[in-house]
């Protein structure tokens, strides 16, 4: 077993891509969904986020992509305390974060190509600056022949790869994925995991939420394990990718 304790990986506050300091979170007046989380993700790291349903995996991801706020503690993204980031600056912070949503959240009225180009258009890039990159990315994720296609006509695995392409096209500093293999068969799940590993090799920090223990076991990547909103150290498998 080549488990690396989280503490050993913890970078200092300045270099961490994500840093939780005693962070808790609740929805409204409900009991805390996440409790006293303290961990950091180093640049270029790859972590799985595991735990049973309702453990708080999606909530933790929401905190990172700024869809929710901590009710307690300090959350730093790219060295910045998110509570001190002005609302007007949050979109710029979000552009450094790629998110693969569990339910894909593709825009149904846009083609595959347009969906992937969306983050770049929103960032103000001109089509001539990115259309070749978008085409290459779609080729890389295996959707070369589906660039015209509308999301409704895509199969589950194709939608998943499209969602991944949209999440990474802006070369985000961190890629978050919520159950990216939950809607595909085992074989497709492995292909998708290889994509994430490839992206990580290119320098993208990856945090992948899943409860597919087999996938985690095959990867050999470190794991953040949540139980009832609390972070519990968890050993990765020995097999390395």
């Amino acid at each position: 077993m080549s488990r690396k304790p989280l503490a050993d990986e913890a970078p200092d506050a300045d270099t961490a891509v994500v840093r939780f300091d005693d962070v808790s979170m609740r929805y409204g007046r409900a009991p805390e969904t996440l409790k006293d989380l303290t961990f950091a993700l180093a640049p270029g790291s790859f972590h799985f986020l595991t735990g049973p349903s309702g453990a708080g995996k999606s909530s933790l991801l929401k905190l990172i992509y700024l869809a929710a706020k901590p009710s307690k503690g300090l959350l730093h993204l790219f060295g910045e305390d998110v509570s001190a980031v002005a609302p007007a600056d949050q979109p710029f912070l979000r552009r450094r974060i790629g998110v693969v949503f569990q339910e894909f959240r593709l825009l149904e009225h846009l083609s595959t190509f347009d969906n992937v180009a969306l983050p770049l258009r929103l960032a103000g890039a001109r089509p001539e600056e990115y259309r070749q990159d978008v085409a290459e990315l779609l080729t890389w994720v295996g959707l070369k022949r589906r660039m015209h296609a509308m999301p409704a006509t895509l199969a589950g695995g194709e939608k998943q790869r499209l969602a991944i392409a949209r999440a990474v096209v802006g070369r985000p500093d961190i890629l978050l994925a919520d159950e990216p293999t939950g809607n595909v068969d085992h074989e497709m799940g492995l292909r998708i995991l290889r994509l994430f590993v490839e992206l990580n090799r290119m320098g993208t920090t990856v945090l992948l939420a899943t409860h597919d223990q087999d996938l985690v076991a095959r990867s050999g990547k470190p794991v953040l394990h949540l139980e009832d909103g609390r972070l519990v150290n968890h050993a990765p498998s020995e097999r390395a990718w």
Binding site: V99, L107, H109, P119, L122, A123
Partner: protein, 297 residues
């Protein structure tokens, strides 16, 4: 779909769907309300004109009841009074009414009497006043008195006050109804816009989490709903103008005179409708989109 895709030929698609089946009901409701608001506006304009017409007509006329002297006939007394009044400053025309006309005027009060010869039917002089500088009742009275004519001047002031009061009430009632319909139209436009935008929450979320700035999202929806409301407003306005045109044609040169005298130029009153509908929808969409994004944040 497997045809060859050439990225160089690719053109970015609009961020929002160009057409949405959910828009149909919204367009219909906005169009109907704009139609009603425009029609009410035309009604207010026409009824206002009718009221002004009635008042002006009464203001511009006076009726003189002439009582003949013992030594002259009623017709001669009326003719003398008309001649006297015609020379008064501020009188455009004075005309003695014939006995038959006078009898016709009192017929509604005395009933169907076969022979009115024995009744002392008063002779009347109809006076048309100069609209620029109308003579006063006192001036008419003084002129008749100076000529020794026994007469009573009726400048319609009693009627004018009642007519003016009724016209004023009708005008304010019309404005009130128009304001209510316009306010209801604005509220429905705003409500429908908010409902339409809430139905596109999925699009707002994707844009938001993909890094769109809140102002950008608000502008997108603002433009989208403003265009939609402007189209619906235009449809309602054109329909109302069409109805106004039909009323104008059916009623002849004075419209449904004297109740609703519509003029062709009145139809231009519907022109601001699409703009106002667009502004209300744009404002509602902007506020709603901003609130939605705040909620997401």
């Amino acid at each position: 779909m497997s045809e060859v895709f050439d990225p160089r030929q690719w053109k970015p698609a609009p961020f929002l769907p160009e057409r949405d089946t959910r828009d149909g009901a919204l367009v219909f409701v906005v169009a109907v309300l704009c139609f009603m608001a425009c029609l009410t506006a035309l009604g207010v304009i026409a009824s206002n004109r009718a009221a002004r017409g009635w008042t002006a007509q009464l203001n511009g006329e006076a009726t003189i009841v002439v009582r003949p002297q013992a030594n002259e006939s009623p017709d001669a007394a009326a003719a003398r009074a008309a001649e006297t009044l015609a020379g008064v400053t501020g009188v455009a025309e004075a005309r003695a009414l014939e006995r038959a006309t006078a009898e016709a005027l009192i017929a509604p009060w005395v009933g169907d009497v076969a022979d009115l010869e024995d009744l002392p039917v008063p002779r009347l002089v109809a006076v048309t006043l100069d609209p620029k500088r109308p003579a006063t009742a006192q001036a008419l009275d003084a002129a008749l008195e100076a000529q020794g004519i026994d007469a009573q001047v009726d400048d319609h002031s009693v009627w004018i006050k009642d007519i003016q009061r009724a016209a004023g009430l009708a005008r304010w009632f019309g404005i009130g109804v128009f304001s209510l319909i316009a306010a209801a139209a604005a509220a429905v436009v705003a409500f429908a816009t908010r409902a339409g935008l809430a139905a596109r929450r999925d699009v707002v979320e994707v844009l938001h989490y993909t890094g769109a700035e809140p102002a950008f999202i608000a502008r997108l929806f603002q433009a989208r709903f403003a265009r939609m409301a402007a189209g619906a407003g235009l449809f309602g306005a054109v329909a109302a103008a069409g109805v106004g045109a039909v009323l104008r044609l059916v009623g002849g040169g004075a419209g449904l005179t004297p109740v609703l005298p519509i003029r062709w130029l009145d139809l231009l009153a519907v022109l601001p409708c699409p703009l106002v509908a667009a502004l209300v929808a744009a404002l509602a969409a902007r506020v709603t989109a901003a609130a939605l994004v705040r909620e997401l944040a």
